[in-house]
């Protein structure tokens, strides 16, 4: 075993002073195996979605808990979960999957406020945060808190209610977990119910996180029909697979790239020390290229917010 490992990873007389892993034949075989493994994983995903697929451990209750924790840490009252905002968030998520867009406004011009109104929520203030590609609720909330615009929504004293939707589906060509957080308030900030009574014709909108809109007075009447839009169009059946394909494939990719980088570094150091003359490419080039790949994988597995 020791000899085999040395032969594979260490420049030695047995491998002509070049680790077997870096020999052309081995590189070709490893490349082909990885290439076909990618297509095999894809086939398994499609054939056995209950085994391999996309899922997250994010729930509405966890998101509510963490959002309120952040608000309380900043001396703000907690938000209450609102079923109409939940419906609006679900409708928005389904619309994003159906029309395949990653933005606050749909390609045909539907704003977040459209979904809130459709859900029957008579808002005075409203806001929206979006996230995709996260696997834990704390990652989502921390990402929002790290962005000034999203943080502003999370910690706005104007909001009293919140609604969430966590949906899995194919968005802009990739399977992903989409999180929609809708904020709202049916009263003016700091106003009493009596004050509201005299002002409830004014509907104010505040920003979705990435596209701030100044408060504006909009229509007086709010449609109340249709609490959920396209609710039946859940893009991917909610089968929770045994293995999360994104985590699984990224772990394997990181492992393989790390092994090659370490082998190249080891080879470079040993050969320099032994002053062996070989005709090979520059290890530093390969290390730089594979390090780029390593960093890319680490960045690509992180979620995105808007």
């Amino acid at each position: 075993m020791k000899d085999f490992m040395r032969h594979l990873f260490f420049p030695h007389v047995s491998n002509n002073y070049r680790p077997k892993l870096l020999h052309h034949k081995t590189l070709l075989i490893v490349t082909l195996i990885i290439f076909f493994a990618g297509f095999s994983l894809s086939a398994i995903r499609n054939t056995f979605p209950s085994v391999l697929g996309t899922f997250s451990n994010i729930s509405n209750q966890q998101l509510l808990l963490l959002t309120n924790e952040k608000r309380q840490e900043n001396g703000l009252p907690p938000l209450t979960l609102n079923s109409e905002l939940d419906s609006a968030a679900l409708a928005k998520a389904n619309n994003m999957f159906t029309e395949d867009y990653w933005a606050h406004d749909s390609p045909d011009g539907k704003t977040p406020w459209y979904f809130i109104k459709q859900a029957g929520y008579n808002y005075v203030y409203a806001g929206e945060n979006l996230a995709r590609g996260f696997t834990t609720p704390s990652d989502v909330v921390n990402a929002w808190m790290a962005s000034p615009e999203h943080r502003q929504n999370m910690l706005s004293p104007n909001y009293t209610n919140v609604g969430f939707a966590v949906e899995t589906g194919k968005l802009t060509g990739e399977d992903t977990v989409l999180v929609v957080e809708m904020f709202g308030s049916t009263t003016l900030a700091g106003s009493t119910q009596n004050e509201l009574g005299s002002q409830n014709n004014n509907t104010k909108e505040v920003s979705s996180a990435s596209s701030p809109t100044p408060p504006v007075v909009t229509e007086n009447s709010v449609p109340k029909s249709g609490t959920v839009l396209d609710a039946s169009k859940t893009p991917i059946p909610s089968v929770k697979p045994l293995i999360d394909s994104a985590s699984f494939s990224s772990d394997i990719a990181l492992f393989i790239v790390s092994i090659f980088i370490l082998t190249l570094i080891l080879d470079m150091i040993v050969i320099e020390r032994k002053k062996v003359v070989r005709i090979v490419g520059h290890n530093i080039d390969h290390i730089m290229f594979l390090s780029l790949l390593l960093i890319l994988i680490l960045f690509m597995i992180r979620g995105v917010i808007i």
Partner: protein, 91 residues
Amino acid sequence: MIKKKINEHLLYYISLFIILFLGFILIISLSVNKSLQLAVFIVLALFYVIWGLLHHYMNHELMTKVVVEYILIASLGVAIMLFLLKGGYGI
């Protein structure tokens, strides 16, 4: 010795670093389009091969063995990226 080698080819390594860094920025900025990310990475791998071989050629040490090595390392990188995006994200 390694330090000496880097110093001898400092300009080359800086230029390679810049190429890879620009590619990295471009790929990260395309974070919501994984197919385009893969396409940019393939182009980047191609640049890496050309740049490496050009450097070997200028130093009169370009041989078939070296050409094959660069192509194989670049192919390995592309295969790993494809594995991640196809197998992990279903592009």
